[in-house]
Amino acid sequence: MRRRSWTPYLYLLPAAVILLAFSIYPLFHAFNMSLHTDWGRPGYRFVGLGNYRHLLVETGEFLHSLGVTVWYAVGTVPITMILSFLIAGLLFQKLRALGLFRTIYFLPYVTSTVAAAMVWRWIFNPSSYGLANTVVRWLGGEPLRWYSESTGVFQLLADNVDVVLPSWAAGPSLALVCVIVFSIWHALGFNVVIFLAGLSAIPREMYEAAEVDGATGIQRTRYITLPLLSPTLFFLFIISTIRSFQTFNQIYVIARQGETWTRGTEHLTMQIYRHYYTSHDLGAATATAVLLFLIILGLTFLQMRMLGRRVHY
């Protein structure tokens, strides 16, 4: 054994300093800030859980944004996973142009969300000359307000038969659906590549044996592919859900209306930004952020417990 030395700690020092200062300390600092009002101003004082009460009970802003966030996650994660699973399955049958297809499907993922979202914002332009509205008119419908529409999509459908839905059943706003469409487009390639890697790890012999035993394509998918792919599905599901709770850029770009954003797209991250940017209310911003952190933490543990048992390693 070598004598005990400080060397290992010196090696850890640079990374530790950065992570302590900009990752661990701010977590505790955020808790502290969320318990104060007017942080950074002369009248600043301790208010206990006052900011939380304000957000959760008095204004209900948090619940509104939580609803938006959950709709966003529900709208993006399953559809992206199902579509990419199908595409990966099709690509996996030794097609000639596999590389080319994979390259194109992955393309949106490397482009910056800000620049790519600009294009989708243009496609969903609410004026009559917008592309989406041209298609709607061509299909015989009325022009829609797209990214500036805060009404839920189910309510918009119900409008046709003059039914007013309760607010919880109105669905995600049309503006949020525009963001969801963008996000599916952007994340598809990432999911396809991960699925392809997972598929190529399944031993070929299993399929050959199943074929000899007369298993149909659906049976092979149900009894071989899905169980053996469960670690991949589990990984993608967790990482996509967590990412959907952290989405900001595309909402900022697509739902922007001058200096404000369509209310129906106020994701929790947008609410943090609004408290910080518009009202400079750091207490409310950090309280929202702490609640978001607790939700993400809870989700991670819940998913590990619920899905962990059903995953075959």
């Binding site: 950065i18 097609l95 000359y129 890697a197 922007r256």
Partner: protein
Amino acid sequence: MSKRTARKAVSYLILTLGVLVVAFPFFWMLTTSLQTEQETYSSPPTVVPASPQWRNYPDAWRNAAPGSSGEITFATYFRNSFFVALCVTAGVLFTSILAAYAFAFMEFPGKGVLFTILLSTMMIPFEVTLVPNYSTIVALGWYDTFPALIVPWMANVFSIFILRQFFKGIPRDYYEAAQIDGCGDWRFMWQVATPMAAPALATITIFTFLASWNAFLWPLIVTRSPERFVVQVGLAFLTSAESTNTNMVMAASAIVIIPVIVLYLILQRRFIEGVAGTGLKG
């Protein structure tokens, strides 16, 4: 036609349709970027411009910060983004190699606890640190400076983790032989371990650079002067001006997107294998 051929034909058809949908926004961006202002307002929309307006690109390039004084072009934004991404990547490589080496090759008290703490910091979402980090930056006097864009990102837990896994794959005999020959840790790290980890380092380089290049929210809140804007913030700034027409917005978006696409097409193997390889371990 056999059943297998028919199935393949259907697969090609579906995949080709999918490719068209995925590629369409890029086409729409390019065609709009080459239209006149008049053409962008036409109904039905102009699919192909009557005569491509190539000058939209130099116009968008020069007019990158409408309403601000001084000589701000996209060259300023690109220079800033490149400088920031380069410094962040160099920083991440340096801190990750050192930390990963310590965790992979050295024995020291508290190693297990420190590694657990390190891994659990991965669970801290960026959003929760956003406002406190902003106030740290202000307290340090770094608001609206390059260190604010660079320093907080110079360490990355995921990179340390990937690199440690890679280092652990290097046979222990190498390390012991080097020790016996009097080659210290510092030399072994740079001259043996690091070169052997080249594939992992390449992946970390690409993804750190790309993440830094595409970062938006953090630069948005810590910079104010167009002289310090990175491309993403500059693009959002340009397009938020009322006077900017859509053909300019699309030309500017293309200016931001095209270099990354070119780089991706050159290095696509590394990109895709990087995602497939490290994504699963995460």
